[in-house]
Amino acid sequence: MKEANPNYTRRDFLRLSTFVGGTGLLAAQAGVFGEIGTANAGVAQQAGNYALAKPENIIYTTCLQCTTACSIKAKIVNGVLAKIDGNPYSASNMVPNIPYDLPPVDVARVDGKICLKGQAGLQHVYDPYRLRKVLKRAGTRGSGKWRTIPFEQAVAEIINGGQLFKDIGENRQVPGLKDIVKLRHPQVAKAMAEDINKIRKKELTITEFQAKYKDHLDVLIDPEHPDLGPKNNQFLFQCGRIHNGRIEFSKRFVNGAIGSINWVEKTTLCGQTSNKAWVRSTMAYEEGKWKGGVKSPRPDWANTEFVLVVGSIVFEANYGPVQESEPITEGLINGRLKVAVADPRLTKVASKAWKWLPIKPGTDGTLGLAMIRWILEKDRYDRRYLQNANAAAAKADGETTWSDAGYLVKIVEGRPQKYLRADEVGLGTKEQFVVYWGGKFLAVDPNDTVQPVEGDLFVDTVYQEIQLKSALQLLREEAYRRTLDEYAEITGLKVEDIAAVAREFTSHGKKAAVEFYRGPIKHTNGWYNAQALIALNFLIGNPDWQGGLMKPGSDWDYTGEKKDGKPYPVGKMHPGKLTAFGVPITREGVKYEESTLFAGYPAKRPWYPFSGNVAQETWPSIAEGYPYPIQAVLLHSHSPMYSIPGGMHQLGTLLEPEKVPLLIACDIVIGETSMYADYIFPDVTYLERWGTGQKPHHIRVKTSTVRQPVIAPLTDTVEVAGEKLPLSLETLMIAIAEKLGLSGFGADGFAPGMPLKRPEDFYLKLVANIACGDKPGDVVPDAGGGELELFRQSRRHLSPAVFDEEKWRQALRPQDWRKVVYVLNRGGRFESTNRGYDGDHARYLLGGMNRFYLEEIATSRHPISGQYFSGYAVWQEIQDSMGKTIPVEGDFKLITHKEVFGTQSRTATNYWAQLSVQPENYVELNRSDARRLGVKDGDRVRIKSRSNPEGVHELGNGRQRYVEGTVKVMEGLRPGVVSVSTCYGHWAYGSNDVEVDGVIIRGDARRGTGIHVNPVFRLDDNLRGTPLSEPIGGSVSFYDTWVTLEKV
């Protein structure tokens, strides 16, 4: 303890005990700190006594330092998590992975790989600024003044509401959750939900609805607009890195128990548009609808020969460095693999590339179109593959997928609209499409496995007075609208380079791919960029081929709902479950045109029928009460004030009790957003809790990870309905449900006599779903006596509040217990890496149709501008929601990048990694730009933009700072571009002083270094405090802001 701070002593701190530090908890467990021998001697170990290699000191679990969710090996010594390594059972962290049935005692000395973030994970859990008690604000929101209150009191206050802040001079009545959860009848909710759908389809009028539910209209937000849903929707749960298991647990609470539709994740800040574009492009046509789809087809890095990486930092971010690096480095040195990288910045993968294309930001799709033009002109596409119009034709060619290349699209009023259906021209049914082949029009059922149908690729014709063009024809026309020289001008690349990359891409048969994720899509034109890059893959027919494009190897269904015969379909095991319905606060998944709020264009705010979890829309929507006001918000593992571009512009919304009457956070620390909350409930970290990870994108075999407590939680233990539980998100939800009498939790939570009173009551069932497999006989073995004993031994340091074997067993059927132990002893369930392929193909197939053209997109309109979207890849300038091009507004385009040691808001705790490897981030500039500006390494510059002309970051309560950073001059960045990484510049999260119970807790300045650029991001001129966004997939724009730099 440094003595520099006169206001704060260690004794104060111990008395305070708000944070985990100072609890004495660990010291009590340790028992190893006595003096040993002479004061200056190490203690000789017995050979083979290396504590980190002992099986009883190991628990396998799942990382969450980034979202890849690697499987990890936590090594615990003296009750303290001492070391984290990769789990060699998992194909994500060891190639090849060790056989799943090897006993853990035999493999304790085998360590898998795990990146530096994963290694530093124990600094995430052992963070001195972790919270252990509930905090209630003792000043205005964001004042930094707090007091601790008992958990039971805090739960009672948020449920009952009232004059909760009278003691600090606020007389307003705060609504409690009891005032929000108005609709409590499951049957009424279900019936209303169904009738709302009828209203949307114009099958029922509002008057009819009101008559039918005349006794229940008081539960609605607005009986004149019943489609907005019940008042329950005025409870918003906004979350971030929540991950599987916790997703289902929290949805059970928010949707099924509270009955609110507003469970909103933050995925539009991430790669969502990429995911959504892939899903749409790989959907199947079934029963007259586009269904299914795969969100993350990826190159088969282990076998591919050429990959064009567009804006994806595969060695530093993406999904993820641990899986992608090894097959790439191996391929590069043995001559198998060639890589080209299009990125304004020379990323680490670009530094290994055959060709670096320093592309202008926001023109990625144009590079795609340029390559498409070159490939079509040179006839270097897989014609045979593309002509296959259905499953049977594909099969005849040894293909597992086919495309819509030859499907005919109707051109109506000069605009491509729906695919022509066979019934429209008397050729077949309304569920068949039409192709042109051998001089004839043919009906085609895409899923027909018997009768092969092929189609001409380039068709431009009129048939029965309908103007028709084939899908690939439409794309070709767009690609041919510009010459390669014009493309070179737009992208800032050389024609020769574009041609060379296109030639290389088409020189390896199907053993080539285009990889992209976030870079191309975090632009207003991101959807079309994605479509262009996806189309390149389809042109060479690479899906499912070794060395081509493959889908993740999938996982075992942990929810128990996707496959028949699973032991615990937890979502269905919910007596009295409410059906959540209505329009989400973010107006996602719902068409504006179908809502009762439709009033022509522009809509008041955007709607996102093709997206979900549109994080940047929550706060501006709350600010405007559109489509309705919100009464209470529970924020969890998401920090909008830190991570949303221009998020600062919504700080006023958070600070205004009229707009957000009750603001609750459940957080591990006082973060950049939870600092503005009314209450903070402590949460546990990923190393102290349950979950089921998520499947890795780059692994070709089945992988189901389990997250489980590896150390005793550092939060306080409380008692809820007779159970001792550590404070956590689950405990909060269980307690609220208990006090409010909500369904799905408590003594009969799953079924009469089947309780959900403890987190493991829920999560162990998910583990059992994994253990029991997805089909008969697909079960893991029972853990033998030795494994059971190892299981107990390795949990000997856990308190009964988290590990009580009897309670764990009670959560399961007797026959499941040993199987669950088997899975927990290995951290999940993992197929062997040698099962990834079946001959030349992937074992787990994408299969099905791949689409160049998306008819449902082409027939939808932007809810603000009213303009129709395009169904195929087009070049579009960066524009706002009214379709107005964003002009050049500064000297530089600002881009951001991720550091290999950084994940947004939460790696500033990693003293070994982020804070040691690079203590601050930089404003990165090309040398020529630096010279022009007269700045050099180490100079400070302020960043300004049109949306933030002074470069000021408002922190609330009259505090502000400039958006300023330290210059780093480099060659590996396109001139005219400035790049800043995204995990620095904290103003909370332990970097600042806070006052708790009258005592000042000093922050650690090391955690607040560097620059945070989100406050200068470009806002949409029409949307009052919302950043520019991509309107289809819903992604927020990260790379479309013009800035100027000013030396300070």
Binding site: V20, G21, G48, Y50, L116, S916
Partner: protein, 299 residues
Amino acid sequence: MSEANRQDEAEKLSRREAAVKLIKISLGLAAGAGVLGEFTGTEKAEAGAMLEVPAAAPPPLPERIPQDEAIFRMQQELHRALQKPVAERNWTMVIDNRKCVGCSTCTVACKAENKLPPGVVYRPVMEEEYGKFPNVARRFLPRPCMHCTHPPCTKVCPVSATWRSKDGVVVIDYEKCIGCRYCISACPYGARTFDWGEYYTDGTPQREKYETEPSFEYVKEWPRAKGRSPVNNTRKCHFCLHRLVNGMLPMCVTSCIGRATYFGDRNDPESLVSELIGNSRLMRLKEELGTAPSVYYLV
């Protein structure tokens, strides 16, 4: 207190302690050396004398683990090497720079494994940018201790606290090291750093326990506390000797996400490192100094 001031303070303290220790040692050198067994200097150092080398090598990997894969093959080769007398091993590292992705995982894994405090780093990854836009490259160079066959650092130690073991590892005896830091200046690779007794979580509400839990360097337990080694000692990479004797590869090898680091016994002609040393792309750092490092690079 700024970083510089803190270093000055620590330096004063450390110099003083070193002086006191020097006096003690000049009065009774034999007693001080006793901890390590019999040796009087670099040349005569008993290889492995400071290690509690297991009587029998740890068991081999289970047969069902595919041992043709490099990472398992190397671990199995360790097993083979451990069957031999210490003096017949020659631990060697080969780093393939073309496979290094510059992620610093090895740096951090090493820090975590060896409980390294602020200012101590065994294996930094250096980065350089070459060329001019748009013809630019970034290159990454992990730089552990070179474990020189002719180490300049051991010669300058006034108390013979550091030497080259017969198995090729340059070691430091923390119990003898007086913290004078001559060796730090003598190392041409900058591979040695000094333990100033700092903690990452000092200056926060709590010094976290993971920082005071023991490290296992040199097959001993080193709980971390003021005035107790390795605080105020020079520290450096030791090829994770404590893992080697337990049949485990160094941390930088197992953690590497690009699989850029190879390790083994170059006295074993069948070993992977022996194969790699025959590669024409092989080089060593500052070859001209005649230090003959045991760390090789493929470039």
